[in-house]
Symmetry: C2
Subunit: 346 residues, 2 copies
């Protein structure tokens, strides 16, 4: 692993580790929102305001043939962060919840796992030990839970977990905690001939089992972090095995690198919610021609969560400072969104 | 670099090195083929025969709704090797010709390059020194010619080179040396709702400038080898720089790994022409349901080239042995193709 990759992964993993320690907030019932959806409005769950106007105006400009800002269809690429931008990342990243649940399940089948750290701490919920995990311990947990099976087996493991796991606050499947206004934005861009991509710090193979159904984005448009894999022919039954080694961390400066590697075009539009999206927003917007940078600012503790500069999960600090001078649109969840989740809709 | 990656790259680079040494064959005029193209035939440049029948039959089966072999549109993924499968790779890989030309140009601007090996050997065409290059020398040549610029600059360099470089035998731009029957196959699959991808040992960034126009395949559907890159913000002008280090070698066992990473679905259809495609063909076809493996066998010295087991470029040995028992369709270029290149058409 290069020094750079190690440093990104340390940052990501530190955030994951702190996420593990966050207390679960008390469960609340679904928010009872009264929403009037206009049939002709492509963004019915967005309140009228600067953010909605900016989005509508941008899409109109780049799709108006003959206009100064017209962009040919093949160049209309939009990239979206996932955790905190398209679905909730609180009280901890969903993939970390998955890793913890899976480790507990593995310890049931293999009790020896309870005998050594860092697994003992996770299985027993030992918060002091968890706090002392560090990068090495966290890497060991990811390696233990995300390797040692084929990619096909891992996909089935993720699907099975998602089918039964419930969010501690909303008592909903995690895939129900996607943001209704962002689903509308994805659909609106697609209807205007944008190709939409996920560009997430999360694992590609953790996302592929559910992203297509949740967002209408196919598997080949999911850019994310990945572990190394190995091809084995076996007895005429080829498999791809997941290894316990990091291949690529698609976070921070890794996002423009992943975009270049997987997509091969500079996006026209990028949406994120944390400092992990800063370089993607810079790469997308700091060029000539019409460009759009969007930041989802979590300002709504009643319907979702309110957090930014001090949050260990999804910290939004530098990117929030940079937004005004870059002309990025900061979405105020509380005032800009009529509803947050699809289950909020009447 | 892992041991495995190093071993693939050694194999690839050994082939490249031998390619460098091949004498250029004498130039011949375009082959004068009389071709009657039927309007209703989706593969007009294919002669009737086993290969054409197998392709037509396969596509009919997987697209017949209600049929036993019907495959939903979203699962119709087809992957194509590039060198020797979609365009000519003789007398040497086009990317190697590019590297040699570029090194000569760099030596004009920077004569000091002529003073040290391996650059001296390349610039002076010293065949004995070239023969002794080895992996290290070849890596140095690729590093010297494919790094030290931004990805945007590299794209312009490739475009400029392609605009003027001519193939030594056919005196045509390299992008004219694509195979007409394979263009028809790509179009036929696309018309039947397949997503077509390039999965090549060549460099992603060498392919992106010309693949979309040549094959109708967009940049995000090009899987290939890559070098490491670095994101730099600079003075509010972000760039992605190409570094002199290998990131991924998309050859041999790297092909199913690249397919899994970039595409995230197992292909239904794969086409290749060399042992570098063996694992892609295995991964594609050794599974349940309808599957299609295709090998372009270069059997036509008059119109293109005839080579297989003994060729340092595009060696086809193990995959040719394995084809019969796997049920892969081996295309005999000489008898199966009415024309080879688009410029052969009347």
């Amino acid at each position: 692993m290069s020094t750079t990759a190690r440093s990104w992964s340390r940052r990501s993993l530190a955030a994951l580790g702190l996420g593990l320690l966050l207390a679960l907030t008390p469960a609340l019932g679904p928010f009872d929102a009264s929403v009037a959806l206009a049939q002709t409005d492509p963004l019915p769950s967005w309140n009228d305001g600067k953010a909605k106007t900016a989005i509508l105006d941008f899409v109109r400009r780049v799709t108006t043939q003959g206009g100064a800002d017209y962009v040919p269809v093949e160049e209309r690429v939009a990239t979206f962060d996932n955790d905190g931008t398209l679905w909730s990342e609180q009280p901890m990243y969903v993939q970390v919840v998955f890793a913890v649940d899976r480790l507990k399940e593995m310890a049931t089948a293999n009790p020896a796992l309870r005998d050594s750290q860092p697994f003992k701490a996770v299985v027993e919920g030992d918060r002091a030990a968890l706090a002392a995990l560090g990068e090495k311990g966290l890497l060991a947990i990811i390696a233990q839970t995300h390797s040692g099976m084929t990619v096909t087996e891992f996909e089935a493991i993720v699907r099975t977990w998602l089918a039964t796991a419930r969010h501690p606050r909303f008592n909903q499947p995690y895939t129900a905690l996607v943001y209704q206004p962002m689903l509308e934005l994805l659909d609106f861009l697609k209807a205007n001939d944008f190709k939409t991509f996920i560009v997430s710090g999360g694992g590609i193979e953790f996302m592929r089992p559910w992203v297509p159904a949740a967002y209408g984005i196919p598997p080949e448009r999911i850019v994310g972090s990945s572990g190394k894999t190995l091809f084995k022919l076996g007895a005429d039954k080829p498999v791809i095995e997941k290894l316990a080694a990091v291949e690529f961390v698609d976070d921070g400066p890794g996002k423009p690198i992943g975009i270049n590697r997987f997509i091969g075009r500079r996006p026209l539009f990028a949406a994120g919610n944390s400092d992990g999206d800063l370089e993607m927003l810079q790469w997308t917007t700091l060029d000539s021609g019409p460009r759009f940078g969007l930041i989802v600012h979590h300002t709504d503790a009643a319907r979702e969560w309110a957090y930014d500069r001090a949050s260990p999960v999804g910290r939004l600090d530098k990117a929030l400072d940079e937004a005004p001078r870059r002309g990025w649109t900061v979405v105020d969840m509380k005032s800009d969104w009529k509803v947050v989740f699809p289950f909020d809709k009447k």
